[in-house]
Point group: C2
Chain length 258, copies 2
């Protein structure tokens, strides 16, 4: 079993460390700039907390860097200077794989999921998207990922950035629309819970058919009266009105071409 160091104790590092620990990997270190946070995670995964990169145990095989994109290149460069013969990979959806490490091999280990600190994540069906600078790295990372998920795929940097963009629409932006719906209901003293069965069914439909077949609503029906009524209800909120118009126009155009 490979020994893994986790650099970063944010949402991704946290859940990844726990999933790997539960799959019986040895988590040799948990690094965070903030030692208290490193300790919090280390306790959960029977590991040694550190706040200096240089203290990563030399016997570890793989270093997973799960920190803010902006700091990733610098940390990986530092790691490359201080260690050798390891696989160093980041966990970012948007960053390309780091090239030209001097003393180590480079890879990517990207779990395609939305993580919040609290709450349990069922990793078993989370797609883990792997990239490696050579076949051997790919194989090692694929083997590790297969222990925590049944959905492991080799994906290159170009594909991964497109997936990440698609994920922003499918996850972050849809969640923002839940927020808008929540606010629209709250403004009339109604609860967001009212919409949960509808939200679940919207997802169920897209699982069994396709977004194109699943589309319903006033824009799909080209029901101008209802759309005008909705725009009137949104009076005073220019940004929501603009969103409503933009998306309704897109749905109607899509429908024309279908």
């Amino acid at each position: 079993m490979k020994s893994i160091a986790i650099v970063g104790s944010g949402n991704v590092g946290w859940h990844m460390a726990k999933a790997l620990f539960n799959a019986n990997f040895k988590i040799c270190n948990c690094y965070s700039r903030n030692l208290e946070r490193a300790k919090e995670l280390a306790i959960e995964v029977n590991s040694r907390p550190i706040n200096k990169i240089s203290e990563i145990e030399n016997k570890c095989d793989v270093i997973l860097v799960a920190i803010h994109d902006d700091a990733t290149d610098e940390i990986i460069k530092l790691l490359d200077q201080q260690f050798q013969g390891k696989i160093i990979c980041h966990t970012s959806g948007t960053k390309p794989m780091v090239n030209n490490l001097q003393n180590n091999e480079s890879g990517v280990f990207y779990p395609l999921q939305t993580f919040s600190r609290k709450g349990k994540v069922e990793f078993s069906n989370v797609p883990i998207l792997i990239e490696g600078e050579n076949k051997e790295v790919q194989n090692v990372l694929t083997e590790i990922a297969s222990n925590i998920s049944s959905n492991v795929q080799l994906i290159n940097s170009k594909q991964r950035e497109q997936i990440h963009l698609a994920a922003v629409f499918a996850c972050n932006f849809t969640n923002h629309f839940y927020q808008i719906a929540n606010d629209l209901l709250a403004s009339k003293n109604m609860s967001f819970d009212l919409l949960l069965p509808l939200i679940s069914e919207t997802v169920n439909k897209v699982k069994s058919t396709s977004p194109e077949v699943a589309q319903t609503g006033p824009a799909k029906r080209k029901d101008q009266k209802t759309m005008q009524k909705h725009l009137n209800l949104l009076k005073g909120n220019d940004s929501l009105q603009m969103l409503y118009k933009l998306i309704s126009t897109e749905i109607q155009n899509k429908n024309n071409h279908a």
Copy 2:
């Protein structure tokens, strides 16, 4: 047990008739302008298909009008001229309850769900939003609705139109974002299935917390570099770029006020 006539054999009429039939209501007639469609539904719910309003059986208690909003007022007026002593209600999210029926009583029976013709709908937790011109009508409709759903609520016309608007964001517009994600992936020969675990988790999170707590992603983190990268990837698609900017700005502003 009340006897119910269904006017309209579209998505809503279809699923409602089946749910009521399964709950042992007598579906006395299924009306559609197109007799063949009326027959298709009538066979499913052991009913008599008709394509003339006047042929609705006089012994029915409740007439459910589930047709296009634009035609609803006229059909309800016709029904009011030809029948008396019945409850006549529409199933629309946006239309107010019809007032001033001469010979019958008016109500609304609105199932808050997205219906496609194909596919089974589990009605038991679909919110059914009831309105009635008086207590008695409210009681009759609530009683009927309670036989097919455990989530029945009295909601007035003003509230219902706001709910319908919120539902467009939470269902129709999110589904359009699944479509956008689908197209972004398809353009690089990747499958939409890749995103399904993420989409499921996005909904799970909003069920157990709130959209505000559940929000993640570049805009939430105010990660300008990643947002700029995404805008570059969307070059050539002005409408998607505008959407991306609008929503990312909203998420960042929301975050400021939180």
